[in-house]
């Protein structure tokens, strides 16, 4: 078994297939030609650039550049995690909450994996650190995004129920328990779904990638298992931190519900 290197010419042959999308759009007057062209061009440019950046990073093996790349990735993940919230927090809290929790969870779990399971030399070797972090970030970001959205929407909708419990002398955590449980559930549901479906419905991209590059299937399976466990742990940790911090921001020291700390509904 061996790895088959590709030239840009080989890729261009497959690229011709994208033209089929364009023709389809013209044929049925879908009006998508422009979007297809822009999306294709963006993908090509973004991936080629990422290839160059990774090439430079992998050659340097420098803790500084690796950390910088990781921080940039975390900053984008933080932004994405709060980009489509229905009721975001007001001010810097929205971005701050998303970024700090995604950094906490994905950072901890990635370092754990690098120092205990994978153990490259040195442990921060970007060839391992960056792809691992990327896979963990993507999933953790989803968990945090869903958890926070369910929390804030739930708090606004259940306002009367929460205040009724507070008025009867419940603590803010008791009053929020129904909403926080729902938020944690929705944060963790995607990873539970993908663990159940992995191997039956979907062959994970990383595993198929390793097999394509000549790794024996049982090794590729072990790597995939490792990744799924890391993702599950990071998603749980990230969702928990985001939902609990979010719930404490939605209340105050005197156990009041503070919906005024959300951005006004549109």
């Amino acid at each position: 078994m061996n790895f088959v290197p590709l030239g840009y010419g080989d890729v261009a042959i497959a690229g011709v297939l994208v033209l089929a999308n364009g023709l389809l759009s013209l044929w049925f007057a879908l009006g998508l030609e422009r979007q297809i062209a822009v999306a294709t061009l963006r993908m090509v440019i973004q991936l080629v650039l990422v290839g160059l950046v990774l090439h430079a990073l992998f050659n340097a093996v420098s803790p500084f550049w690796t950390l910088l790349a990781a921080l940039v990735m975390i900053a984008f993940a933080g932004r994405e995690s709060i980009a489509r919230q229905e009721r975001p927090f007001a001010g810097w809290w929205s971005y701050g909450l998303g970024t700090s929790t995604v950094m906490l969870a994905a950072g901890l779990v990635t370092v754990l994996a690098l120092t205990t399971a994978v153990r490259p030399q040195p442990w921060y070797d970007p060839r391992f650190a960056i792809p691992l972090l990327g896979m963990i970030l993507g999933n953790t970001m989803n968990g945090i995004s869903l958890g926070l959205n369910t929390l804030t929407v739930g708090a606004a909708r259940e306002r009367n129920a929460i205040e009724a419990r507070l008025a009867l002398g419940a603590t803010r955590w008791e009053a929020f328990s129904t909403v926080t449980r729902g938020a944690l559930k929705s944060g963790m549901l995607p990873i539970i779904n993908s663990m159940s479906a992995t191997g039956l419905v979907a062959l994970p991209g990383m595993m198929t990638g390793q097999i394509l590059s000549g790794v024996a299937p049982e090794q590729a399976v072990k790597y995939q298992l490792l990744i799924m466990f890391l993702i599950a742990g990071s998603t749980a940790l990230g969702s928990l931190a985001a939902v609990m911090l979010g719930a404490s921001r939605l209340t105050d020291q005197r156990h009041r519900l503070r919906l005024d700390r959300l951005r006004p509904a549109r």
């Binding site: 009724a164 008025a167 009867l168 020291q253």
Partner: protein, 174 residues
């Protein structure tokens, strides 16, 4: 004590502020003890606010009551069927919800009750049953501060009367 005043004058806000449900300023004492000296949940157990339309956090009515027997006895005195504790909340009428929300607070035996229009949606019989229950609570030494739009009800229940209008609060004297 009955609070009255035009709609939107801030009667509910006054009650919510006393219960410390909104950020507010001012000093409030209960039996010479300052509100800020107590943790907020403990304060609200002693000084309990019941909203005009209170919320429900579980599906079953009974799940909202820690002491079921006591709740059942009080429900009967308010003309509610005892079986209503087994109903889902969704089955309750507005008036039933209003009375059960009052019971929910009463069974905790607070020192003071802050009631926002406790009889507004009720027919005459139900309203009388609520008033009887409130008189019993007063006789036990419970302080009641309630919002009411009904001057006759105010005359029946109140020993002191507050008026809230145009951002000012004052005591009405007869």
């Amino acid at each position: 004590m009955v609070v009255s005043g035009p709609s939107g004058a801030g009667k509910s806000l006054l009650l919510r502020a006393i219960a410390d449900l909104d950020p507010n300023e001012g000093e409030i004492l209960l039996d010479d003890e300052s509100r800020e000296a107590l943790p907020a949940p403990l304060w609200r157990r002693r000084v309990t606010y019941v909203a005009a339309e209170s919320g429900w956090w579980a599906d079953a009515v009974g799940a909202h009551f820690a002491h079921r027997d006591e709740a059942a006895a009080l429900a009967r005195s308010l003309g509610l069927p005892v079986a209503c504790l087994d109903w889902p909340v969704a089955r309750l009428s507005t008036g039933e919800r209003q009375r059960l929300a009052l019971l929910r607070a009463l069974v905790q035996r607070p020192r003071a009750l802050l009631l926002d229009e406790p009889t507004s949606g009720l027919d005459q019989n139900a309203a009388e049953a609520v008033e009887t229950l409130l008189r019993e609570a007063l006789a036990r030494g419970t302080t009641i501060l309630m919002v009411s739009h009904d001057p006759a009800q105010a005359a029946r229940l109140a020993s002191r009367r507050l008026r809230v209008e145009a951002g000012r609060v004052w005591e009405e004297r007869r």
